[in-house]
């Protein structure tokens, strides 16, 4: 277990930029993009001209009037939405994480062979199984946790900033926000999606690690080119011989699962049980997304993918054990 701790630390040392600085900076940027205009409007809102129903008013007044027309129920809804805005922050950061993880998994077992540092790692009493599993743990648990922390921090900061700015022009109140339960439980709801991600992303992590452990050069070309070429070949055969195959099945369940499943939340788009399963704007309530995420576990797709992922991770371990680096 101690070895695992050091192996994970080692990954953070090597990939500080992708796993730590990138989500920090993007989170901070989003926060700044939200907080700065809010405060600007709060301070200079009266200078802004807004046209409402043909009347020209100052911005600050318009907001005030608008908020005064809202019923208390509507007001609560707005506060609620603000308090559960974590998903909004998790979204871009999840995309970023998917991008970072894709290249992390692809290069994790390739770069060490390219620069021959694998010979140094192998001179230590750490098994290939431990090493490869540490990279899996990094991709499926440690890195998502850091990103989640960044998302929560930047969501909290932004919501507080906007509420503070609004209360400066006399709209809403900070105390209303702070007493909204959603502010406290929505981070947990977002965090509760991590197990779904860990199982969902297994085939992609396995595929990318395996290709990285196997390829002599250009792992990206192999990892992306092979599934895409096979997909193209199938489509061509289908057309040439009028086989009547459902080629979209291959793209969705093979190509998509081994390449795109690495993006957290990709299950919403890739794995639709029925037509109604599309994410709409009205369904962005965190708890609904969570429900849909955990519903994945009743779908055999996620389990078949997970088993395939574990098999490919096993192959990656064997490859690292016996690959001769010349």
């Amino acid at each position: 277990m101690n070895t695992m701790k050091w192996l994970i630390k080692r990954e953070f040392w090597e990939h500080k930029g992708g796993f730590f600085w990138a989500p920090m900076i993007v989170g901070a940027l989003i926060s700044a993009l939200i907080a700065l205009p809010a405060f600007y409007f709060a301070a200079k809102g009266d200078d802004v001209q807004v046209r409402i129903n043909g009347e020209i008013r100052s911005g600050g007044e318009a907001v005030k009037q608008f908020s005064q027309r809202m019923t208390p129920e509507q007001m609560t809804l707005v506060t609620d939405a603000a308090a559960s805005s974590y998903m909004g922050f998790a979204g871009p950061l999840a995309g970023l994480l998917g991008f970072v993880l894709f290249f992390f998994c692809l290069n994790a077992l390739f770069d060490e062979r390219k620069d021959r540092s694998v010979l140094f790692w192998k001179s230590l009493p750490v098994s290939d199984t431990e090493t490869v599993l540490s990279k899996v743990a990094m991709a499926l648990a440690a890195a998502p946790l850091v990103t989640l922390a960044c998302a929560i921090a930047s969501a909290l900061f932004s919501v507080l900033a906007v509420t503070l700015a609004a209360s400066m022009v006399g709209v809403g109140s900070l105390s209303a926000l702070l007493t909204t339960p959603a502010l406290y439980y929505s981070p947990l709801l977002v965090a509760a999606m991590l197990p779904v991600f860990a199982v969902w992303a297994l085939p992609a992590v396995g595929w990318l690690l395996m290709v990285g452990a196997w390829a002599k050069s250009k792992p990206f070309v192999w990892a992306v080119g092979v599934p895409v070429l096979v997909g193209g070949l199938i489509a061509w055969l289908n057309k040439m011989f009028a086989l009547g195959w459902d080629t979209s099945w291959f793209w969705k369940n093979i190509v998509g699962r081994i390449l795109l499943s690495i993006v957290p939340g990709s299950w919403f788009g890739l794995n639709t049980l029925d037509g109604s399963y599309q994410v709409g704007i009205r369904q962005t309530q965190v708890s609904m997304l969570l429900d849909k995420s955990w519903q994945q576990f009743v779908n055999p797709n996620i389990w078949i993918g997970a088993i395939a992922g574990c098999a490919m991770i096993y192959v990656a371990i064997r490859l690292r054990r016996w690959r001769d680096e010349g």
């Binding site: 101690n2 050091w6 080692r10 140094f120 001179s123 230590l124 009493p125 001769d324």
Partner: protein, 295 residues
Amino acid sequence: MSDTMNNAVNTPPVVSARGLTKRYGKTTAVDNIAFEIPPGRIIGLIGPNGSGKTTTLKAMLGLVPFEGEMKVLGKDPRTEREALMREVCFIADVAVLPRWLRVSEAIDFVAGVHPKFDRTKAERYIANTKLKPSMKVKEMSKGMIVQLHLALVMAIDAKLLVLDEPTLGLDILYRKQFYQNLLEDYFDEQKTIIVTTHQVEEIEHILSDLMFIRDGKITLSATMDEIGERFIEVMVAPDKVEAAKALKPIDERQVFGKSVFLFDGVPRGQVAALGETRSPGIADLFVATMKGTYA
């Protein structure tokens, strides 16, 4: 002294190989070799490029599959690699430390995963160099990288240390320093070192045993003492050349118009009559026995 000798006889060998063979496709890199390495020795494994020395070391370290039998510290490197790596250390090549690694991280990591790592020893060694804890490998010269690697390796209380061309590409100051540190601060009767290098002359004086390998076969395996007894070089005047040739020298070369003959196992008294004798260096022996390798 006799205690050490007895130990060497009674304790099981550090490495033993029988029928060790390694093929890459149709080429045979290591061809059915057998050897035993007792503890407390410094063995030089010497051979031309492509002779199979690195492959032999890789097999020993469990880095490649092979045919035949081999035990390292009583363990099969193919199936018991992790346990073996607690007792065995190796420097496979210069500059295999990852470029992003800092000195402090390297020490933290090895201290974290290696039960036999002595942190203070590594730090003491590094304090004597120009390395700084915050320094990254990519900022270091080749010589400094080797200093860091050696600091890590010497702080590990391993039973077997394998060095494959550890000083390749270093200048002579670093090379001398490297072997001096190894000998003074690391080596003792409980440890065994196997080293390959092309700079044979530089390690000649620290070796206790010599193993020549050529085309995947061991062509010579002896202690340095035995080699001193077996091989004699004689500078022969022109009138005695025929007599010298009758004793079947293994090599002949010309120096300042005189012939120098190398004899293997010919009694010293017989040879001394031919001219001035001396013990050949490893480099001379190597050149003599490897003639025609690249022809």
